[in-house]
Symmetry: C2
Subunit: 454 residues, 2 copies
């Protein structure tokens, strides 16, 4: 135990005091710049209010790409370009509708799942079977044929970090439709992946297994899910009418939007900082992931504003198509590999623009040990946890392809699933200072990684 403590002692104090003081002052300068002259919030306002929703293939996607290019140029990138990639083009096709076909019609607030096929304009009406888990589905597979399967798996409120609850519940959305279709279900309703107090349905991507029929699928708001479950539990025969007009059109062309500051000492070593530019269609994608985009741009702007000359090349990437295909992130890593680029480090912000708590890393234990020496430089700005495990969907391919070390900003997660993929993910749900504190900590991490290496 003493040995461990001695190691901790070395780690805590191994950064020379003078360097520590200089770093502290530089990070204070970054913070002052962002808190006093920050552009992230105004950039987010323009993205959410003037561009709005921007799902892959939509008109909003192209407007968002133009916004990204212009904003990166205005906020100081040396060079800005678009990297083309094929993206899926799923459309909702019209208003989703559903109701419980009881004596008194009970409307259900639903959103078709991303990538799902519609019912057609006549809709479908069928009895509903309540399924609480995949285990229950297997046990009751003989009862499923001709029915609408309603997955009512609940978000686990006991998990303090809500992303753990999302990881736990998410499979019902992504795999649920095909697993029900396997046993003859005609459609799927899924309880929204959320612990909100309201009734907004939460959409999100799903994937069909090509071995089974592609049946329609929609998310139900939490209060309506409770009503539906209660009616079925009360042993009523419950039928639901469902109409969705969703369809998948042929792939189209989208782009990663990339802005660069050339490194002064190791220009071939690239540090990527990004978020994803696409967002679901029912809202403005303010937290998911407008926040990550404007924070990433703000890192570049602030480092430049305080006169910091990065040793390594800093690249801001606004990734295409995270939500329903990950084509942008995949393309970025493919091209990096094809060109033999050196990707030194990558940081993503895609967990909301809420007050920062920590960073999660996908790095070696030795690297994490080094990074943890920097903790006292972050705590004045709200980051107290530097832990193994983290990154981001868009930068994942860089790690898988090129072993690039990754980090992901971890904001407070309590409010995230109130708004995630729902109508209320709007600019007004973002707090200016929380957004800025995220950008400050991101810029501090990039400054330290660039200066000291990993």
């Amino acid at each position: 135990m003493m040995h461990r403590m001695f190691v901790l002692y070395l780690l805590t104090f191994s950064l020379p005091a003078l360097a520590r003081q200089e770093d502290s002052l530089q990070i204070r300068a970054i913070a002052d710049e962002i808190l006093e002259h920050g552009r992230a919030y105004e950039n987010l306002r323009v993205l959410t209010k003037q561009v709005g929703a921007r799902l892959s293939g939509s008109a909003g996607m192209y407007k968002a790409e133009a916004w990204g290019k212009k904003t990166l140029e205005q906020d100081g990138a040396d060079k800005v370009w678009l990297q083309e990639c094929k993206v899926p083009h799923w459309v909702r096709g019209g208003k989703d509708e559903a109701y419980i076909a009881a004596t008194r019609k009970i409307n259900l607030d639903i959103l078709a799942l991303g990538n799902s096929m519609g019912t057609g304009p006549k809709g479908i009406k069928a009895p509903v079977i309540l399924i609480n888990s995949f285990d229950e589905l297997e046990l009751r597979k003989d009862e499923v044929k001709g029915k609408i399967v309603f997955y009512n798996y609940k978000f686990n409120n006991k998990l303090v970090k809500t992303f753990a609850a999302y990881a736990d519940a998410g499979k019902y959305r992504s795999q649920g439709p095909s697993r029900a279709a396997k046993y003859g279900a005609v459609a799927v309703l899924v309880r929204s992946m959320s612990n909100a107090a309201d009734n907004n349905p939460h959409t999100g991507g799903m994937n069909y297994n090509d071995s089974f029929p592609k049946i329609p699928a929609a998310a139900v708001g939490l209060r309506d899910a409770n009503i539906l479950a209660q009616l079925i539990t009360d042993k009523r025969d419950v039928s639901v009418y469902l109409k969705t007009l969703a369809k998948m059109l042929p792939d189209t062309i989208g782009h990663n939007v990339i802005g660069e500051l050339k490194g002064s000492e190791f220009p071939d070593q690239i540090i990527t900082i990004g978020g994803h530019l696409d967002s679901w269609d029912p809202a403005e994608g303010a937290h998911d992931d407008g926040a990550g985009c404007v924070q990433s741009i703000e890192v570049l702007r602030a480092l430049k504003a305080i006169g910091y000359k990065p040793k390594r090349t800093i690249r801001i990437v606004l990734f295409a198509n995270e939500e329903n295909g990950l084509r942008g992130g995949t393309k970025y890593a493919e091209e990096a590999k094809a060109k033999g680029e050196q990707h030194y480090f990558a940081l993503e912000s895609d967990a909301g623009g809420f007050t920062p708590r920590g960073f999660g890393f996908t790095v070696s234990d030795e690297q994490l040990t080094k990074i943890r020496q920097w903790l006292p430089l972050f705590t004045p700005y709200g980051v107290f946890e530097l832990s193994q495990g983290g990154g981001g969907a868009d930068i994942g391919p860089l790690n898988r392809t090129l072993k690039t070390p990754l980090a992901g900003l971890q904001p407070d997660s309590q409010r995230y699933f109130d708004i995630h993929h729902a109508r209320n993910d709007v600019f007004e749900a973002v707090n200016k200072r929380e957004l800025e504190l995220g950008a400050i900590n991101m810029a501090a991490l990039i400054y330290l990684v660039d200066k000291y290496g990993l």
Copy 2:
């Protein structure tokens, strides 16, 4: 340095592993109870939506007292009583109005300051002098006579912990009117104590110095404050019309609402947990301080629900009149002293129902050292900082009178001054899980203080 590390080693590991594990499980049980069966959010809904604003002396105050008594009884207090105290009875008297009397009338969104005197129904119109600080007031004191002094001192955005900015700016609200009246000002406008992105004015208490005339005073929304300041800076002659109907009526009777769980081993040692029941009139007092009230009640409910029998007597106190007099907290300490009560520890939650970050303490260094051993028990629930300095306005008199050690819950402070004393301090601004996590950490602290002592 090694010595210091060795001390740290002892502190970190001095709680026996078995005790640590038992405590961890008990706190997990508290957390599960609150996250799964919590009553705080529903209690807050009733307080904010059915009672609403509850300033001292108002009808809302009496409704709130009845709500508090009933809720403490329902949520498991052995004994509930009201402790009478005199409270001030300030009334707004009607709608506050102000505009810049330019060619085109420009309305200003204002709220008269609490405890201020009104202009009378005719209002007053006078030239405005822009004053950015008390230093500037002293330099320009000869220009003040007959004018409205507009204090435009800005919230310091660079201070990451926003309460520090409030402490810095607050004197312009509390002392500004009398300091201007001293030099002949006829009224005061004060920039709202906030860093919000909106224009809601933020009221709050002020205190007249009896040596000078009691002139009207109001807070101005931030955007309007900027407009007004800009016009004056542009060297226009700016006059403002101001009408407020506020007045101070004679003192009336209010009550601290108190609920108790008798201690099993040291029943004479009292642990007080509280928030304040009063709130400003323009909103629902959801964060300030409905949140603290329902969290305090939730501590009692949850400890009882998991079957914990406190050694010491736990008292939940919903304090009267924090906002414009502190009569409730003062009375509580006076009576404690008069009765010779032993007040072992006191905890307040009065910084909003936002996600918890830490606790601030007013304790001896030895006590803080002991408390910090418990840190690993808090971090799974979001509390990472246990620091010297903190408590709460209502429990302050206990410390001053009886040297009672104090603690205050420190939630994330970024959003607090968006809603503080403004129209948007409503139930909808509170997140259920953030509120609950605050209650979990409070209950954990009380459990540990009760079990291990200080």
